[in-house]
Subunit: 407 residues, 4 copies
Amino acid sequence: MVPPILYNWVILICRFCFPELQQRYLLLWLALDYLCDLLYLLDIVVHFHTGFLEEGSLIQDRAQISRRYLCSSSFLWDFLSVLPTDLLYLYVGLDRPAVRANRFLRSPRLFEAFDRIETRTAHPNSFRISKLMLYIFVTIHWNSCVYFALSDFIGFGTDEWVYPNSSLPGFDRLLRQYLYSFYFSTLILTTVGDTPMPQREEEFLFMAIDFLLAVMGFATIMGSMSSVISNMNHADKSFYPNYDLVKDYLHSQQISRQLQHRVVDWQQHLQMNKKMTNELQILQHLPERLRAEVAISVHLPTLRKVQIFQNCEQSLLEELVLKLKPQVYSPGEYVCRKGDIGREMYFIREGQLAVVADDGVTQYAVLGEGLYFGEISIISIKDLIWLTSLYRIYRLVRYMQYNQLQS
Amino acid sequence: MVPPILYNWVILICRFCFPELQQRYLLLWLALDYLCDLLYLLDIVVHFHTGFLEEGSLIQDRAQISRRYLCSSSFLWDFLSVLPTDLLYLYVGLDRPAVRANRFLRSPRLFEAFDRIETRTAHPNSFRISKLMLYIFVTIHWNSCVYFALSDFIGFGTDEWVYPNSSLPGFDRLLRQYLYSFYFSTLILTTVGDTPMPQREEEFLFMAIDFLLAVMGFATIMGSMSSVISNMNHADKSFYPNYDLVKDYLHSQQISRQLQHRVVDWQQHLQMNKKMTNELQILQHLPERLRAEVAISVHLPTLRKVQIFQNCEQSLLEELVLKLKPQVYSPGEYVCRKGDIGREMYFIREGQLAVVADDGVTQYAVLGEGLYFGEISIISIKDLIWLTSLYRIYRLVRYMQYNQLQS
Amino acid sequence: MVPPILYNWVILICRFCFPELQQRYLLLWLALDYLCDLLYLLDIVVHFHTGFLEEGSLIQDRAQISRRYLCSSSFLWDFLSVLPTDLLYLYVGLDRPAVRANRFLRSPRLFEAFDRIETRTAHPNSFRISKLMLYIFVTIHWNSCVYFALSDFIGFGTDEWVYPNSSLPGFDRLLRQYLYSFYFSTLILTTVGDTPMPQREEEFLFMAIDFLLAVMGFATIMGSMSSVISNMNHADKSFYPNYDLVKDYLHSQQISRQLQHRVVDWQQHLQMNKKMTNELQILQHLPERLRAEVAISVHLPTLRKVQIFQNCEQSLLEELVLKLKPQVYSPGEYVCRKGDIGREMYFIREGQLAVVADDGVTQYAVLGEGLYFGEISIISIKDLIWLTSLYRIYRLVRYMQYNQLQS
Amino acid sequence: MVPPILYNWVILICRFCFPELQQRYLLLWLALDYLCDLLYLLDIVVHFHTGFLEEGSLIQDRAQISRRYLCSSSFLWDFLSVLPTDLLYLYVGLDRPAVRANRFLRSPRLFEAFDRIETRTAHPNSFRISKLMLYIFVTIHWNSCVYFALSDFIGFGTDEWVYPNSSLPGFDRLLRQYLYSFYFSTLILTTVGDTPMPQREEEFLFMAIDFLLAVMGFATIMGSMSSVISNMNHADKSFYPNYDLVKDYLHSQQISRQLQHRVVDWQQHLQMNKKMTNELQILQHLPERLRAEVAISVHLPTLRKVQIFQNCEQSLLEELVLKLKPQVYSPGEYVCRKGDIGREMYFIREGQLAVVADDGVTQYAVLGEGLYFGEISIISIKDLIWLTSLYRIYRLVRYMQYNQLQS
């Protein structure tokens, strides 16, 4: 429904204020007008046939759908906006497109559609900025139409402020009329000024109201833009924690340059490779079932590679996935040490892990993707292995299994 | 008290700076002035009779009320603002409304009233924007009055900057005088400029101060607007958690499109139907008693429908309501499974719930609004039913009863 | 140190750019200059005598103080800024105040002083706004001085852009010179424009740089202002939780108007009477000792009124105060009920509390300020009283005593 | 890669729009062009030899590196941007630098470099502001080039809006051409206006689009600036908690002035001496291993000074450091009292600590840096000492050792 409503908002006022536009392309307008009316009507028909959700069930019964739609407030607007006010053309003639003004009443559907797009789109911030620019354009467009109509009412060229009359060369061209009005309107609404001094009370009022509108509009644009930018920053920070504070702290404590560089490396590694350390937190607002499906979709392929689970049935693995807790290790970090009491089992999702001797150098074994360790904690053997992850290990996701439901 | 105070702030300065306005409608002004004075006096009388809260008791004793009011600082302003300075009219003549300047002193009451309205109104953000616009209007209005008075002082038409003298056609009309001054003032305070070059020291000063005022004012408007917009966004996010991050995560993990669509559907379902998942968190700042009453008011009708509670007395139900924890399930989510240990009891507030066989398809029973299950956990039978909520179930509020006070 | 540094920043550049100003008040300037130099020197002397904190001890030994100060970087600036560059007057003559330019180097002390004031002042936000306005003023002031000097360099009146030469009436007056330059500078730095078209390369450059500066400056002002406003809103919300969400929730759940009004009443009651419900949270960043002193200072007078504590020694009471937890009740809320297990003791700080019968109306007793109950829980009697606070009770602070250290 | 890409972005458009610039310094341009091309090529060569991280291992094998780079999308841009389009010079002549337009395609590498610098720099906020200013400059620069080219297309001097033709003195100089265009462009993009009225449709369009661009750009600048400022405030607050609320609370509770001053002193002491009370919180986002290294680097020197640890081996001390919890005490605060059950051991990192008698004045001993107490709690002697830290003690870091792993 976006195109026909926007068509009416942009074109109708224009045709009303620039009579030449209406007359010159009369057939085109009539065609487009009735195409839009058709779409409006179609939308109503669709609403009469679209089931709705009630108590979780999709109601498909046409009588019920009709009753519900007829009682809703949106039906009133839908209905008013297709009233055939065009019949008034018979009385006032075809050059008065104002009789179709009721088409503007469909605008709630426009905002509804915008909300739906904003929810669905993969780039909500870009969409918000585009919407903002559309609103700015429509405001300036309407304002320029009103300026031209006001000029016409006062009389073209009667003073400096109004649109010049056709005695000036080029000023009787339609494109010039629109561009001049649009430019004039832009000058005012961007608080640039530089317009001729008004001469009459109406003009003073028009200008003063416009400037106030401009200031409020400007403040709204700024506020929305600030909000979009802080939104983007917030998203960045949610994915990758802000290390500015850490760097300030290291600097103030005069930590060695070499250690500072390693911290920056770690941060850059996370950002460049789009690794996340807090995926559980991001998903927390999803209902349990959806969260489970997301976790299954992300982690099941890895779990399938683990040997001991290859004969398990699907439903057990799904339950297992929900108990897993992803964890990111930095290179050189110890996952566990000789002597620790084993209460967890680890599966390696990405990267490599070395089992090293006490000297931290001799490697007994290197575990890769799909391998696991710590299962000994299940069968309660106390002989734990001292592990160290070496420099070559960049990411190890620790899957932690709670083998007791109570904990 | 808003109308009389605003009347004085808007009209008095205007009458002082535009002598013609004062003279032409003299009787109207006198009538309105004394009506306002009457309201001012009435307000004082009301304050002498309004009880106040002290240590939780409403004090109604007139002597105590009077003593408290007379000692408060607001009495001083109230009193000063009704001093009959009009008597000076006898000396200076009726065209000097400046003698009533003390009426401005009542403004603290205006801010008090605004604060009260902001707390009470159902649309605090709209009210904040309106207040902002009122402040902008009053500032421009005062500035235009000062400009006209300054022009008068320098002499109309002595240079280009001041208001033109009456030799120019139309410039001796009162409406033109005000509109021109207002327009001039708008030009400056919206940093548009385009005003004639000042010629005298006073004019330079007036312009420079005004421009600085404009910049600070502009910054304040922007800041307030940003704050209102971020306020609205915050409210949105408090009701419906922000799914932008979730979508980014799903996208970065290359989850299947079909699952991504289901997440978006869930989000849209919540927003369209104004379902909330975090009502407990929103109410947390209310004192316990009020929170209880809100919970009772929301949930008691549902509880009344539950068969086993139909003979319970009111007070028991009220206590029960406070123990209930609303929960929203998505369609297809399992509420509990065969083999789970039952520690909760569920009441269905909205939607439908199916008891299904192990295959997840065969339905043994469908429970609707007002029904309950899980009461078996009270009578300690271990034979739990495996439940699944099917696609038709959109919302199920789980009422959790803690049957032990300790937990 | 604020006045002399500001004096140098504001006046010195002015005297350098407006030679007439320097010549006309020469003696005044010399007097003020040397007064400032004296203050600069005094400041150095003071620094040589001010002890400093090292490892918690205040070092008063002059040798140590001197050594530390001489080695600090601030000494370098302090020293450079009092170098007697005035001696160059002997070569270049008294109308070249530029020789004193090294006085600007003292500015780090200015920012230090501003930081100290911002920490100390009771109105940090007002101070931040004033500081912002001072920065704006100094920037415009310097810019206007530069404009005048540039005009002088190009030659007054050689084109329209520069300052007009003295052949125009009034333009040779000093005040006019300054005001014109200041106004001109304001026009540019507030992005108003309306200045004559530049004619030379230097003028184009000056204007372009100024406009860019204006945009960045404007953005900084807006950002700072937004930050101040959001700061104030944050403070408000920290003291009094935001009830906008609660009202939206009540509205969306179609709660009865009467209950909605009671919620608003509660909010208004808190705000009007400056009651806080979260004082513990506000004080959390203070070190333990200071927090204790604040708590003692607020609550000890109440505790002193309690009969059973009247013979206790000071130190016991102080320890007791730290265990107390203030709590606010709304009128009609139950503090505890018949049958509850008593684990707390309550002291009434403000308001009244009624012990009522099962019917909720008959009052057995009314407890007022300084009274207490719940002490039975200490001596382990199980016979608890059913209490209700009636409408007349507006504030009851519950002092909770943990009688076991473990909990 | 920043210089060559910026060179192309800034210079190429300029040479295209100002033909005189291209012709006059032709040899210089050719030299710089091919130097940049060389750098572009070198960058590609480097990319063919730079190993990358895969599964934590640095892949150095050239065949693998080449395959990966050739398949990446960035290779496409890199390759397109070094296509020898200069060969077209042979057909169109050397004054058409437009043939090198494909050099702009390297810009993704520019943003990549900016991201890398922003992560690495010690002053991220300054860098963000510089980046913002660079973007503003490049936008105005391009706009001025487009204005000059459009003027050329319409014909210099054909109307007032375009660049004047060479008959006006000075307007045929290259510097004047650029400065005039840049100034003109600045006027529009800072919404100053004051430009001559457009006369042709193209000019109206150019101006209207520019003004809209200006408004959106302005909003973006403001938003980014607000974000930078709120970022800095946030950093400040993370290091030093905001005491505004505390001061408001003390004020509203009418606490004695003397206590209020002590709170302010404490705050100022923290800020002036850059003491932090929340270092653990700042480091929380680092992986465990890095956090440990930072802690070791900060605290090991202190621990080394403690007598009982002087013979311990390095690895034991490192583990010990991780268990330590830094704590800041204010002067006069009690660390522990006679009768407390000792479960912690304290090491003094900074400041002094006095063991005092019951009267709080007599000092039994003063402990300084590197000393410790509380070890008696390890050997379980119940005879604890009542300690008080006097005014001279400004900072004591309490190292708390949990002597049981379970807690």
